[in-house]
């Protein structure tokens, strides 16, 4: 029996691993009534894969049998691979037993589409329901919404899951039609929009009635594959930006396409994974969400592609040298945040510290600023930088960073 389970786990974890979202954050479920598990606001990485990614959830497909034929997906119908499927109880047992051993924070369950969308979604919901009700499991559950399933099932899923996601898949409708002919933009956007409305409606109710039921407390996320199709970064980020604004998504994940299949519509196997590009997209994502940049400042018709050599914040600074140097002792928070080399936490510390004294260069160092970078862009009581010549500085910075580039999609976004 164990060999069979192991075999299935191998197949179904392998098929699920290209979905890069791994987060177990955003939910604060407490363990009530001596059940098992809870979730922490920021999530926990229990281990890291050899490619340096966080292992937080048991990420598997219920099955990799699929009726659809999405060109970029290993599980597509026309791909000749081993197929397998877990039963509901097998997934429940695996989750609980991994959880009890402190291997994981919870479950991330997705699936190929078998029979029809509703039939598939119904099984996913049943796993979550069994865990929550029968086993009083309070760990993290992330369910994939199957495009085209009914709204009732989405509602039910949201009562058990912490997070729901439906992948936007590709950065344009055209590409989607081309590569995932059975999916439509509508079948992806509709559940997103539907959930968003329910979540906001419930949040309003919650202001009046205290005890509204939990409903996807960690919200929605989505993933976009980049590098499989010809869209530029501006197109990619325009979609992401509107998803954040329109549907209140918590996270958009960018997944550099890993070419595993030979298909004339796709980059050939062996083409390198666009990891640097992926990293730049994440950085841009952060600029939009946490650094108060607007999209057109970072990407626009003149600059539709992110610079691969330097991060987008520095890139923006080079294009806007007239806004520098910034007076550390006077500038407002927003502007300090825009200085290359100053992150959110050091920006906050600067605002705090300068109330007590006039800051000099040495102070910046103790406040955790990436000094070598920032010094060109700020003046302090004892420093007035020489005029920055973008081309020269760029060269310098490239020299410095040459020796310590460890690129990763989800970490160390700005130093």
């Amino acid at each position: 029996m164990w060999e069979r389970i192991q075999e299935k786990l191998k197949i179904l974890a392998d098929a699920a691993k290209y979905d890069v979202s791994c987060s177990s954050s955003g939910s604060k479920r407490v363990n009530t009534d001596k059940g098992i598990g809870n979730t922490t606001e920021s999530g926990i990485c229990h281990s890291y894969t050899e490619d340096g990614r966080c292992v937080s959830l048991l990420k598997i497909l219920l099955t990799n049998y699929c009726l659809y034929d999405c060109a970029y997906c290993v599980s597509r119908r026309s791909n000749d691979i081993q197929r397998a499927g877990f039963t509901v109880n097998e997934v429940v047992a695996l989750t609980l037993n991994f959880y009890r051993r402190n291997y994981i924070e919870g479950l991330f369950l997705s699936s190929g589409i078998f029979k029809n969308p509703d039939y598939t979604m119904e099984r996913l919901v049943r796993v979550a329901k069994t865990l929550r009700t029968l086993h009083r499991f309070n760990g993290y559950i992330h369910l994939k919404t199957i495009p085209g399933c009914s709204e009732e099932l989405i509602l039910e899923a949201a009562t058990y899951a912490d997070r729901l996601s439906v992948n936007i898949e590709l950065p344009s409708e055209q590409s989607l039609r081309h590569l995932a002919p059975e999916k439509s933009k509508d079948s992806i956007i509709k559940p997103m929009s539907f959930l968003h409305h329910r979540i906001t409606a419930l949040a309003d109710e919650r202001k009046v009635i205290r005890h509204t039921p939990t409903f996807a407390p960690a919200g929605q996320s989505t993933q976009m594959v980049v590098g499989a199709t010809p869209e530029n970064d501006l197109q990619v980020m325009t979609i992401a930006d509107s998803l954040y604004k329109k549907f209140g998504l918590r996270r958009v994940y960018y997944s550099g396409y890993v070419p595993v299949l030979a298909d004339h519509r796709l980059p050939a196997p062996g083409t390198p994974v666009p990891m640097i590009r992926e990293n730049r997209l994440y950085q841009t994502d952060w600029l939009l969400r946490f650094y108060k940049f607007s999209l057109h400042e970072v990407l626009n018709a003149q600059n539709p592609q992110l610079d691969l050599d330097i991060d987008p914040k520095l890139s923006w600074a080079f294009r806007n040298l007239d806004q520098f140097p910034v007076d550390i002792n006077k500038a407002d928070y927003e502007m300090i945040l825009r200085v290359p080399g100053i992150g959110i936490s050091s920006a906050l510390k600067i605002i705090e510290a300068r109330r007590f004294k006039t800051l000099n260069l040495a102070d910046l160092r103790t406040l955790g600023v990436a000094f070598n970078r920032a010094k060109h862009f700020v003046y302090t009581s004892d420093n007035r930088p020489r005029e920055v010549v973008a081309a020269v500085l760029r060269q310098q910075i490239l020299q410095q960073s040459k020796y310590h580039t460890t690129l990763t999609p989800q970490m160390q976004l700005f130093t």
Binding site: S47, Y48, T49, D51, G52, R100, N102, T406
Partner: protein, 263 residues
């Protein structure tokens, strides 16, 4: 002559020692843990007996003066077991109790800086342990884990594990410090255990984790977990350096997915 206060290594013990420093108005003084104490000819040695009453008074004095967050740093830096941490904490106490409010954030003061830095390290390891503890289920159902943290973090992780694993009995044993925390699912209590009194071991015997009879399913789940771990890595994205930064090799020994010998 310099005074040398020798205490039992416990937190209340240290607070008692600090109380004595104040009570006797000792100026040139050093506090050391019993097991680190080396006879010193040039000091007046006093042995401190732990005293709950005195300890509480010092603790309350600090709490009155400091924000909970700073109190937390104080305790965490104690758990670092750093060499001379007692003297740092004494210097810290003297400084903050004598200075105007807000002094505990003056990072220019060496004791303040040291306390913050130690606390940060301990806090980081607390997080790591919450992530890296790996339980094995014993034949009688008890979930056991062994750890060897750099710092004494068991007191800090108790709450986390108690909240999370409320419906299973578990034991986390610090092999470096020879004590553990045992949660009993029946009464919902956590108690401290030392070698010899641990569950599944006969009294007086060393609680050798490896010799506890494991549950029938245990090996299977460990294999499944390893399988999962290996499968989930994407080979073309391999990044060994990053991997090691997140999971330093010194922790590998007790990580199921990293342990060399299979079950």
């Amino acid at each position: 002559m310099k005074d040398l206060l020798v205490y039992d290594g416990s937190f209340p013990g240290l607070l008692t020692a600090i109380f004595d420093v104040y009570e006797r108005k000792l100026a040139d003084v050093s506090i050391v843990r019993e097991h680190l104490y080396h006879p010193d000819l040039y000091a007046t040695v006093r042995t401190i007996t732990r005293d709950t009453h005195k300890a509480t008074r010092v603790w309350q004095g600090l709490q009155k003066k400091l924000a909970t967050e700073i109190i937390d740093h104080f305790y965490k830096s104690f758990l670092s077991e750093a060499h001379n941490v007692e003297d740092t904490l004494l210097a810290f106490t003297r400084y903050v109790l004598g200075a105007p409010p807000g002094a505990e954030r003056n990072f220019a003061h060496p004791a303040v800086l040291e306390v913050m830095q130690l606390s940060k390290k301990v806090h980081r390891e607390k997080h790591r342990m919450e992530a890296f503890v790996r339980f094995q289920q014993a034949a009688d159902g008890l979930y056991t884990a062994t750890i060897e943290p750099d710092f004494n973090v068991l007191p800090l992780i108790t709450g986390h594990f108690k909240d999370r694993y409320a419906d299973q009995s578990w034991l986390i044993y610090d092999d470096k410090r020879s004590y553990g925390i045992l949660y009993n699912e029946k009464d919902g209590q956590v108690m401290e255990v030392t070698a010899g009194v641990t569950h599944s071991a006969t009294p007086g015997e060393d609680p050798d984790m490896a010799s506890i009879v494991v549950h029938d399913h245990e090996a299977a789940y460990q294999t499944l977990w390893k399988t999962y771990f290996q499968t989930t890595s994407i080979d073309v994205r391999k990044n060994k350096k990053l991997h090691l930064r997140h999971v330093p090799t010194r922790y590998w020994r007790y990580l199921t997915e990293k342990a060399m010998a299979g079950p």
